[in-house]
């Protein structure tokens, strides 16, 4: 029982992280219908950027974290500006292939600068963050990741629900022409969704780096897990992304706990195939409102 609870808690906190990362992916898809294959590399860039700031430049952790967030926000903005904006109005497949190209480019650059070895952050989380309930210990990093996941999911939820910019973003996702007719700056919305996507990706990248160590291949492939997550949750549902993330996180930890750690990375994709067979729109994909 204790083992079960331990797995449950670890799974939940990793799952929240996946959900957070998938949120960025879903946002780009919702506003511009682009599947971003470079999402995993955005995670990796965030993780390495943080590494540079913390280990090489020896910045205080909190400051390094904020700088990483700001930096990845700017990066997302820039990527949209330079690479995606010229392709607005072109067929979607071009844009999607572009993101595939971007993913290789980013991966190559990261390998060039940091090599393929496993790197680790200095141990910066205070041990007091860990918790102990009876026989269950929760490592500080899982506490931190859960706190971060919940905080940012709530913040983004409020942002989309109430802030003007959040409502404009949803309006573009809903009906682009109508949004244009009311003067919504659609290009700004695209840029903002890339910026937010890069921001949440780098947050998840950092935490995953703390849990598993930082390696270009490893983190990029974790980034690819957004696919099972979002397909499980429904490609266009932010709530679904979070729940999908939690389910995949739980599946992974239970698989590695009860079956075999080597199956851990396979299970999400098996689930992906199964979901596509049974519910192609995902558990929470938008059911089109049809007016007759």
């Amino acid at each position: 029982m204790e083992f079960f609870l331990q797995l449950l808690i670890n799974g939940l906190s990793v799952g929240l992280l996946y959900g957070l990362s998938a949120l960025g992916f879903v946002m780009i898809f919702k506003s511009s219908s682009v599947l971003n294959f470079a999402h995993g590399q955005l995670l990796a860039i965030g993780a390495f950027f943080f590494l540079v700031l913390v280990s090489w430049l020896q910045l205080p952790v909190a400051l390094a974290f904020l700088v990483t967030l700001a930096g990845s926000f700017v990066l997302g903005f820039t990527v949209e500006r330079i690479f995606l904006r010229p392709l607005i109005g072109e067929p979607l497949i071009f844009v999607i292939m572009l993101t595939v190209g971007l993913s290789s480019m980013f991966k190559g650059l990261l390998l060039f600068f940091f090599g393929g070895n496993l790197q680790t952050y200095p141990d910066f989380l205070p041990a007091s963050l860990g918790m102990q309930f009876g026989g269950i210990t929760i490592a500080p990093v899982y506490v931190a990741s859960s706190l971060m996941g919940v905080t940012f999911l709530v913040l983004f939820g409020l942002f989309f629900k109430y802030s003007p910019q959040g409502i404009f973003m949803r309006s573009v996702a809903d009906n682009q022409t109508a949004a244009l007719s009311l003067g919504v700056h659609v290009k700004k919305v695209f840029a903002l969704s890339w910026a937010i996507a890069a921001l949440v990706a780098s947050m998840s990248g950092i935490v995953l780096g703390v849990i598993n160590g930082i390696n270009v291949h490893e983190i990029s492939s974790i980034g690819l897990k957004v696919f099972p997550v979002v397909i499980l949750g429904g490609l266009d549902s932010i709530g679904g992304a979070i729940i999908g993330g939690i389910i995949i996180g739980l599946l992974e930890t239970f698989t590695s706990g009860y079956l075999s750690p080597s199956l851990r990375d396979v299970i999400p994709y098996i689930v992906l195939v199964a979901i596509l067979l049974v519910k192609p729109y995902g558990l929470f994909g938008l059911v089109e409102i049809e007016r007759v």
């Binding site: 409502i167 022409t177 109508a178 007719s181 009311l182 409102i289």
Partner: protein, 270 residues
């Protein structure tokens, strides 16, 4: 229409519109919209009414259309081929044909999108103004727009446009597919908006009868050209308009469509 120059809010001068560089839809359309008036644009399907509105609002661009000739002057400045972002910020808002709400946003969120041209200004008063014109929306404010009735959705999309404080409102077939009583209500409100907010309105309609009742001036379009224009009440009396758009024969009785040798009359207009 012997008004002074200052009284003209929008002047469309001999514009041609081409889609995808090859398909010519408008062939020299000219319109004059005086400040504070309702100008109606009539014509059958495919006459170019919607394209004319989109040329004004800048929405041709996303559809790969372009004003190739002539100019559109608004408030003294040329606006042809500007982006919709720029044009909406000058106070021209188009209400699209076929009621396109943001289906997954609530009614109130839909209205809030109307503040996109001035995102950080307070909007509570404007919401009250919209609910004042469309009281039916008050109890629907938390409902997803996709689940509202057709009439309510028409109110949402018009209210959304009002939130932007338009100086020039372009309405594309507000009566499309609505019950006669709802149409009557919508037109009553259009007139009210014109009178109380002093909003200049260009009204595209198939329902010539209703449109000419509230409009000051009207244009009739066919095949990408303006074929007739005049004061609304003169148009109502015109035998051709009566026959083709009001469904009343020259003798004052309704005539069957097959009795009308349309091509003969049409020839006179071209």
């Amino acid at each position: 229409m012997e008004n002074e120059k200052d009284d003209t809010l929008l002047l469309v001068n001999n514009i041609s519109v081409v889609y995808s560089d090859v398909i010519q839809v408008l062939k020299g359309v000219s319109l004059k919209v005086p400040r504070g008036q309702i100008v109606s644009l009539l014509g059958s399907n495919g006459a170019g009414k919607t394209t004319t509105l989109k040329a004004i609002s800048g929405l041709l661009k996303p559809e790969n259309g372009k004003v190739t000739d002539g100019e559109i002057t608004y408030d003294g400045a040329g606006i042809q081929n500007l982006s919709p972002e720029e044009i909406t910020r000058k106070g021209i808002i188009q209400v699209l044909e076929g009621r396109q709400p943001f289906k997954y946003l609530t009614v109130e969120e839909n209205l809030r999108v109307g503040t996109a041209t001035r995102p950080l200004k307070p909007y509570k008063k404007d919401l009250e103004m919209v609910y004042h014109y469309f009281p039916a929306l008050t109890k629907r404010r938390k409902t997803m727009a996709g689940y509202c009735s057709g009439g309510e959705i028409q109110m949402v999309v018009m209210g959304r446009a009002l939130m932007a404080h338009p100086k020039l409102l372009l309405l594309d077939e507000p009566s499309l597919g609505l019950a006669p009583l709802v149409v009557k209500e919508i037109f009553r409100i259009i007139r009210l908006i014109n009178e109380e907010q002093h909003t200049t309105i260009v009204l595209v309609e198939q329902n010539a009868n209703m449109a000419l009742k509230i409009a000051h001036y009207g244009y009739v379009m066919e095949n990408g050209r303006v074929v007739m224009e005049g004061e609304a009440k003169d148009l109502t009396e015109n035998p051709d308009v009566k026959e083709f758009y009001l469904g009343v024969g020259a003798g004052g009785t309704a005539r069957s469509y097959r009795d009308v040798k349309s091509y003969k009359r049409r020839k006179r207009w071209l």
